[in-house]
Subunit: 241 residues, 2 copies
């Protein structure tokens, strides 16, 4: 079995860079930490290498024994990690979708993680993200979704291209907006894609223009809803039954 | 106008302790930062003293000019603050409620903040929190609610006492639970209190026993919902119309 003990090892230095989105994009690799997440990643067949110190609970082709210092260097957790896996991003495809979420610039990793878990709960088939949406391979998103990440296809693509393509396939695309909008009961469709917007600005006006309709959540107060909460209410309404 | 320049000033040292829940509980005071929040707190009449460096945008009885170092000491923001106010917690009362939220040990400040904003959006009259629920005067809750905090009465009390008292007033109390539960459509009441539980454990079993019914959110997947999302779906369903 391979052993690495030096923090200066070329592989370790390369993997440490995966904390940056730029490097994850370039290499197609990302890191995960902890037994539970690695178990989920193994099921999803996206693990390349497992790094461990002490005893590894997994039998796997590519195991590397390392030092606690190396694990600390790669970990994004203040208290370090006992197990880290280098994973390869999957080529996601969404076939014949009935229910989709489109994210137009959602920034907060916590919101993204919550939206992914909610989408799975309500039987959504996948998520398309605009290129300026938070990276799902961000450590906080991975941690907050705890493996749910591997259950749902998430694709980064320009929504200006995605929306017309979905409409051609017979999907109704609705954007959340406060003005000139319909209530959820006024838009009842089987094949539906819901666009959720940025925490501050909402859905971009040019994206709303591409949608088949704008939908609003009926409210009583003037407070704005958190995007994950608004998404939850919409996904529950349009859930797969 | 009073001026304080020493970090060792007794008032400053006392106020710095307000970062701790224990000290906020003992004194009934809490700190807020920034012009927008202070404006909201002034409207809510809970400001005691405003500390500033440079020019204060507010005219107020009790203004104290301080140094940037003092503001940094009191601030919970890494980049410091220009304005800090010492506020007094309000004695909250909820009169003749129609819609209430009860929180049974919600721990995450972000979730608590989101639940408060959602409750305002859907016309809820107030929130009762168990004593082990996250403190609303926690800096992260205050920041995430941006003043919404001052619009909704929030009361910390033992839910074992609150629930029977509400039932005596004719309210239906429902707890979220996955087993032996009804759907939202099966429980249609005007005067309703919804119990939301801890992020890990949900609503305590003894609290569920006190409720009139247990409610579940119909789902398609096996993923569990975030408590703020579950709360959002329930509050939308039972909103004030």
């Amino acid at each position: 079995m391979e052993k690495i003990t030096s923090l200066q090892n070329a592989k370790i230095k390369k993997w440490a860079l995966l904390k940056q989105k730029k490097e994850r994009d370039k290499s197609g690799l990302f890191l995960i930490e902890g037994e539970h997440l690695i178990e989920e990643a193994l099921k999803a067949e996206c693990v390349e290498t497992i790094l461990f110190d002490g005893i590894c609970p997994f039998s796997f082709d590519s195991l590397i024994q390392v030092t606690p210092e190396i694990l600390n260097k790669l970990s994004q957790n203040v208290s370090g990690a006992k197990l880290i896996a280098v994973c390869r991003k999957k080529e996601n495809v969404i076939k014949d979708p009935e229910k989709l979420i489109l994210l137009d610039g959602v920034q907060d990793p916590g919101n993204l993680g919550t939206i992914i878990r909610t989408a799975i709960s309500f039987g959504f088939d996948g998520i398309y993200c605009s290129k300026d949406t938070c990276d799902i391979y961000n450590e906080k998103v991975i941690r907050s979704t705890q493996g749910a990440l591997f259950q749902l296809p998430v694709i980064y693509e320009d929504l200006h291209d995605v929306i017309p393509a979905l409409q051609k396939e017979g999907m109704t695309v609705i954007g959340t907006s406060l003005r000139e909008s319909k209530t959820m009961d006024e838009i009842q469709k089987e094949k539906i894609a819901i666009v959720l917007g940025n925490e501050g600005q909402g859905v971009h006006e040019d994206i709303i223009q591409l949608c088949d309709a704008a939908v609003r959540i009926e409210m009583n107060g003037f407070e704005s809803l958190n995007v994950a909460v608004a998404g939850g209410i919409l996904m529950y309404h349009y859930r797969k039954k």
